[in-house]
C-alpha cells in the first residue's frame, strides 16, 4: 500500500534580488496514516517552506517548484491540482497550525465565526449548526466556558487559548494529516506541555497523521515516531526516533544532540556547532554542512552526498557514514 503522503524531490525556490534562493532542495519523505513525523532543524533550514509547500501556501511568484517535485496525497499530486480541488484538500484533508497564535487569528472576527468558517468552507451546514459545532469544538480542545468564549475576539484570549482555538479550527473537519509548525514555540513552557498533550490526545482519538515541525529536540523525542533532520534545505538524516537519538549517523544530528541539555547527565558546558546556517542564495559546494563539520573529508567539499542506508529504515546523507560500511541507494 502506498503511504498517505509522499513527498518526492520537493524543491521550492524563490526569485529574489540576490538571485534564486533554493529554500528547499530535493526533499523526500513519506508519511503513513496515523504516524507522527518530527521535522527538525535550525531556523532557516527550510522546515516551514516544506510545510507551506505541501498545502501550496507559498506565494507563486516569487515562489516556484521544480518540475521533478511531487507531493502525493492519496496518490494525487497536489502540485498539479487546480485551485478549486486544492481548496477541498486544505482544511478538510490536510490542515495546518502555525507558530504564532496571536497573528494567525483574524483580529476582527470572533473565534467562533472563524471556526465555523472552516466548517462552512467544506460542508453544507447551516450558520446556526456551524456555530453550535464551533462551541463543541472549543469544548473538545479544552477551553472552559465554550459558550461564552465562542463569541469573544482573539485579543480577549490568552496565548494558550488562542493556540487551542487554532487547533479547533484545524481539526474542525477531521483532517487526515495535521501539519503543526512550531505550535508551542511562542508559548510558556507549562502551556507548551498542555498543548502538546492535547494535540497527542486528539491525534489518538482521530487517528490522524501529524507532521510536527520544531527546533526543539526534546519535544520530538517525546512524541514523534520518526524524525527527519533538515539542514540547508535538505533532509540530512531520517529514521525512527529512538535510532536517530541513540545512533545519530550524520555529524549535524550528532552536533544538535550534543547541544541539548540533558537531565540524566552531569551538567557540563553545552557543545555548540561552530558557524551559522549558510544563506539560501549561496549554499556551500558539496555537502552543505561541510564548512561546519568536525568530521569532513576531502570529498565533502566537492561532491554532494547521496542517501545512505544505515539500517532499520534509518538514512543519512553523508560521505562519512560510507566508511562504516553503509550502502548508498543513489538517491539524494
Amino acid at each position: 500500500m502506498s503511504p498517505l503522503l509522499s513527498v518526492r524531490n520537493l524543491s521550492t525556490s524563490f526569485v529574489t534580488d540576490h538571485g534564486e534562493a533554493q529554500a528547499v532542495d530535493g526533499v523526500s519523505f513519506e508519511l503513513e496514516a496515523g504516524e507522527t513525523l518530527g521535522l527538525v532543524g535550525e531556523s532557516g533550514c527550510g522546515k516551514t517552506v516544506t510545510a507551506l509547500s505541501i498545502l501550496r501556501l507559498i506565494p507563486e511568484p516569487p515562489g516556484r517548484f521544480s518540475t521533478e517535485s511531487r507531493i502525493e496525497f492519496c496518490d494525487v499530486n497536489l502540485l498539479r491540482l487546480p485551485p478549486k480541488e486544492l481548496r477541498k484538500v486544505r482544511g478538510a484533508e490536510i490542515a495546518m497550525i502555525f507558530q504564532e497564535p496571536m497573528t494567525s487569528l483574524n483580529p476582527v472576527l470572533t473565534v467562533g465565526s472563524q471556526i465555523a468558517e472552516t466548517l462552512r468552507a467544506h460542508q453544507s451546514i447551516s450558520r446556526r449548526s456551524a456555530s453550535a459545532r464551533a462551541t463543541e469544538l472549543l469544548d473538545v480542545v479544552g477551553i472552559a466556558d465554550p459558550g461564552e468564549r465562542v463569541r469573544e475576539y482573539p485579543h480577549q484570549l490568552s496565548g494558550g487559548m488562542q493556540q487551542r482555538v487554532m487547533i479547533a479550527m484545524a481539526l474542525a473537519c477531521q483532517p487526515q494529516i495535521l501539519i503543526a509548525d512550531e505550535p508551542t514555540t511562542a508559548l510558556d513552557v507549562t502551556v507548551q506541555a498542555q498543548i502538546l498533550e492535547l494535540l497527542m490526545n486528539l491525534k489518538k482519538q482521530m487517528g490522524m497523521a501529524v507532521i510536527f515541525i520544531t527546533h526543539d529536540l526534546g519535544i520530538v523525542a517525546g512524541i514523534a515516531d520518526r524524525i527527519a533532520v533538515m539542514y540547508g534545505g535538505q533532509i540530512v538524516e531520517q529514521g525512527p526516533t529512538t535510532r536517530v537519538f541513540e545512533q545519530p549517523a550524520h555529524p549535524y544530528t550528532e552536533g544538535l544532540l550534543k547541544a541539548v541539555p540533558r537531565i540524566d547527565r552531569p551538567a557540563r558546558t553545552l557543545a555548540a556547532i561552530p558557524g551559522t546556517v549558510p544563506t539560501a542564495t549561496a549554499w556551500p559546494s558539496g555537502c552543505r554542512f561541510h564548512p561546519r563539520c568536525p568530521r569532513r573529508v576531502e570529498r565533502c567539499v566537492s561532491d554532494q552526498p547521496v542517501r545512505f542506508d544505515v539500517g532499520s529504515g534509518h538514512h543519512a546523507n553523508c560521505w562519512v557514514v560510507t566508511q562504516n560500511g553503509a550502502s548508498g541507494d543513489g538517491e539524494r
Binding site: 498545502l55 486544505r90 490542515a95 495546518m96
Partner: protein, 339 residues
Amino acid sequence: MKSWLLWAAVVGAVIATMRFARVVELLRTGSPAATLVALAALGLPVAALACWRWCPPASFRPEGFLGRVVRNRRFTVGLTVVASLSAAAILAPVLTPYAPHVQLDLATLARLPPSFAHPFGTDGFSRDILSRVLHGARYSLSVAALSIGLAITLGTMVGLVAGMSGGVIDGALMRCVDAGLAIPRLFFLLVIISLWDTVSLPTLILVLGLTGWFGTSRLVRAEVLSLRQREYIVAARAVGVGRWRLVQRHILPNIASPIIVTAALGMGNIVLIEAGLSYLGIGVRVPTPSWGNIIRDGHELMATAPWISIAPGIAIVFTVLGFSLLGDGLHSAINPRRR
C-alpha cells in the same frame, strides 16, 4: 457634548413650530421626497431630545475603538459641522422662506444687503440668497457624496482585484491607474464635460466618480498586498477558505478604516471640484442652485453686492473644513501611532 443635543433639540423644535405651516404644506403635496423632508423636520428634534434624555452621563468615558473616535476632538468638531450642514441641506425646504428660483421683485428687491427679512441678502435677480445657499447645499453635498461613493467603490474593487491577482492583471491595472493619476484632474474633467452641451446631474456624478478612484485603488492594493502576507490570511487559506470569502470576510473588514478615512477626506476635495466646475458654468447648471454657481452669480457684482458670493463661499469653507477634521480625526483615532 450632551448640552449640544439639548440645544439642537430646542433649536429644531423652534424651527419646526415657527414653520409648522410649511411642514403641513409639504405633507399635503404628497410627493415622497417632500413627505420625507417634513417628517425629518418633525423627527430630528425628537431624536435629539431622546438622545439627550438617554445619553450616558457626562463622566462616561467610552472605551475601545468607538470610544477613541468619539473622544477625538477634531472628529467631534468635524462631525458636528458636517452633521449640521447635512441637516440644513435635508431640511432646506422647511428652513427656507422662499423657493430657490423665485424672483421676488426685480425692481425693488434686487441686490439687497443682509437684513432680517433676507439674512444673507438677495442677488441680482432679487432671489433670496439664504434659500439658494441651503438648496444649493442639497445639490453640492449630494453630488459630492454620490460621486465619492462611486469613486470609492470602484477604487476598492480595482485595488482588490489588482492586489489579489497580482502578476499581469495587477501590472496592467496599475499602469492604467498611473496614467489616470498623471493627467491633471480638472483639465481631464473640463475636456470630458465639454463633450456635452448640457450636463445632467447623473452625468456629472458619473464623470466625477469615474475620475476619482485612482488614488483609492492604489491605497487598497497596497493594503491588500501587506495583508496577504499576514499569518491569519495564510491560516484562513490553510483551512480552505475560498477566494471570494477571503476577500469578503478577512480582507475587506481589515482595510475598511483607511477606506473610510479616504472617503471623508475625499468629500472635501470633491465639494471644491464641483464648486469649481459650477463656477466655470459647466458643473451644476443654472437655475439649479449649487454653491459654485451662486458664487458665479455674484462675481460680476463683487464690488457692489459682495454678500452674494460670500455666503456660498463660507458654506464651502465650512464643508471642506468639516470633512477634513472628520477624516483627520478618524485617521488619528484609527492609527495607533498618532493616538
